[in-house]
């Protein structure tokens, strides 16, 4: 199948971009990664994502698709060869979408808050909320996986991509704060899942090693504007 004309605007350090890369790998789609730092406001980004000016953007032929989870669903709909990303049953699809939105609306902002928290007390408060979020995700894993290896069952699926793309960053946050979030004692299923994800043949090549990610992220974050003007 002709897969030329697929470009991904983004940067490997971004978990949102990683989601798209995981989906493209799952479907064996050839693509070109056009490295882009949104904080430097490149023109191509403003043209393809005029509303939000953010990465990732998938360019498929003449079309530009934005927002990582929307792009993943697009990839699933547009390329029907290869494994399905979303589960077949409507209820399971709604459940996967719900928890993916939970990652974006609850977990991700907390990771940002932890980076910005000043002082031990403030950090502890955010870490407590993060732990609670991970406990919820642990329950979600038990319900969705139904005893199998991944949220998607025997193989990686939508929710594995939505959360799995953040495992590298979560490990980085653990290192920087000397804490454990994906913890073998409190969230043992999730901890096991994270290990399996990094070995899974479909997606392991795009998941960055946390040590390497730490270095790359520090460089990337240095380009961010100091004032919260975004």
């Amino acid at each position: 199948m002709a897969t030329s004309g697929v470009k991904l605007l983004g940067a490997k350090q971004s978990p949102f971009v990683t989601r798209v890369m995981m989906a493209l790998e799952m479907k064996s789609i050839d693509y070109e990664l056009v490295v882009m730092n949104p904080h430097l406001k490149p023109e191509l980004l403003s043209k393809t994502n005029p509303v939000h000016k953010k990465i990732p953007v998938l360019i498929h032929g003449e079309r530009a698709i934005c927002e990582s989870l929307i792009i993943v669903q697009y990839i699933d709909d547009a390329w029907t060869n290869g494994p399905s990303i979303l589960p077949p049953h409507p209820y399971d699809r709604a459940t996967a979408r719900f928890w993916a939105a939970f990652v974006d609306d609850k977990l991700v902002p907390l990771l940002g808050q932890l980076r910005e928290a000043e002082g031990e007390e403030a950090k502890e408060l955010v870490i407590k909320k993060l732990s609670e979020a991970f406990m919820r995700l642990e329950e979600a894993f038990i319900n969705c996986s139904k005893g199998k290896a991944f949220f998607g069952g025997d193989s990686v699926g939508y929710l594995d991509i939505a959360l799995g793309s953040f495992v590298g960053l979560i490990r980085v946050v653990e290192m920087m704060n000397e804490t454990k979030l994906l913890d073998e004692t409190k969230t043992s299923r999730l901890a096991g899942w994270a290990e399996r994800l990094y070995s899974d043949s479909l997606v392991k090549d795009v998941l960055m090693d946390p040590q390497l990610l730490l270095v790359q992220l520090q460089k990337f974050l240095a380009t961010m504007p100091k004032a919260a003007s975004e």
Binding site: I65, C66, E67, I70, P90, Y91, R93, R97, F98, R136
Partner: protein, 225 residues
């Protein structure tokens, strides 16, 4: 194992989105009215994470979040009245703009409603900027879904009754017909569709809903000072 139930209230537009979808699909449902100031054990059991309405209960299983419920309804009752576009790209655009409506249009409208003094003017400008982007999306089309209403029309539908209610409570005008003629025209077509019209609450109910909410927020702010 019962039929289809919707936990919610018809003064809440996310709930009405769900009712519209069910009506268009010809699905019979029962509304279980919720009191948001005194949430029922059923709601807390069915939506323990967010504790919000609407909740769709189908075959005893809960589905939450109005946008997700719309897609669920479309996937389960797929032979009648398709809501999502067929083409994957059009689908992704519908999802993109639906997200934009809930994260930007609704939020900025509420901000403008709540704001006072100088901040209010700034908030009104921000809200109008989001409406401008929506205005561009309806250009050249009768409905967001094309010739017939679809998913995105149901998502934007709150502007036909709830936005005027927000404007009234906030003492401001956001969607005026001269600045946004296409959106205004769209509201007039949308609201006359029978399935849409049948689910609309009286305007006073929507006004009351937002006024109660605003009073509650202001009392919270006052108690913090």
């Amino acid at each position: 194992m019962g039929g289809v139930k919707v936990l919610g209230l018809n003064s809440s537009f996310p709930c009405v989105r769900v009712l519209w979808a069910l009506k268009l699909k010809g699905v019979n449902y029962e509304i279980v009215e919720e009191n948001l100031l005194n949430k029922s054990p059923l709601l807390l059991q069915m939506n323990p994470i967010h504790k919000k309405v609407p909740v769709l209960i189908h075959k005893d299983k809960p589905i939450v979040e109005s946008l997700l419920i719309l897609e669920y309804i479309d996937e389960v009752w797929k032979t009648t009245y398709p809501l999502m576009p067929e083409d994957p790209y059009d689908c992704s655009m519908a999802r993109f703009w639906a997200k934009f409506v809930d994260e930007k249009v609704v939020v900025t409208a509420f901000e403008a409603m709540k704001s006072e003094g100088e901040g209010k003017e700034v908030a009104i400008v921000a809200a109008k900027e989001t409406l401008e982007l929506l205005e561009k999306q309806i250009e050249g089309k009768k409905f967001f879904g094309g010739d017939e209403i679809g998913y995105l029309d149901l998502v934007v539908g709150w502007i036909c009754l709830w936005l005027p209610a927000i404007e009234q409570v906030g003492g401001m005008k956001l969607l005026d017909s001269s600045t946004f003629p296409l959106l205004y025209q769209w509201t007039q077509c949308f609201v006359h569709i029978p399935a849409i019209h049948e689910c609309l609450p009286p305007r006073e109910k929507a006004v009351d809903y937002f006024q109660t909410g605003l009073n509650y927020l202001r009392s919270l702010d006052a108690s913090k000072k």
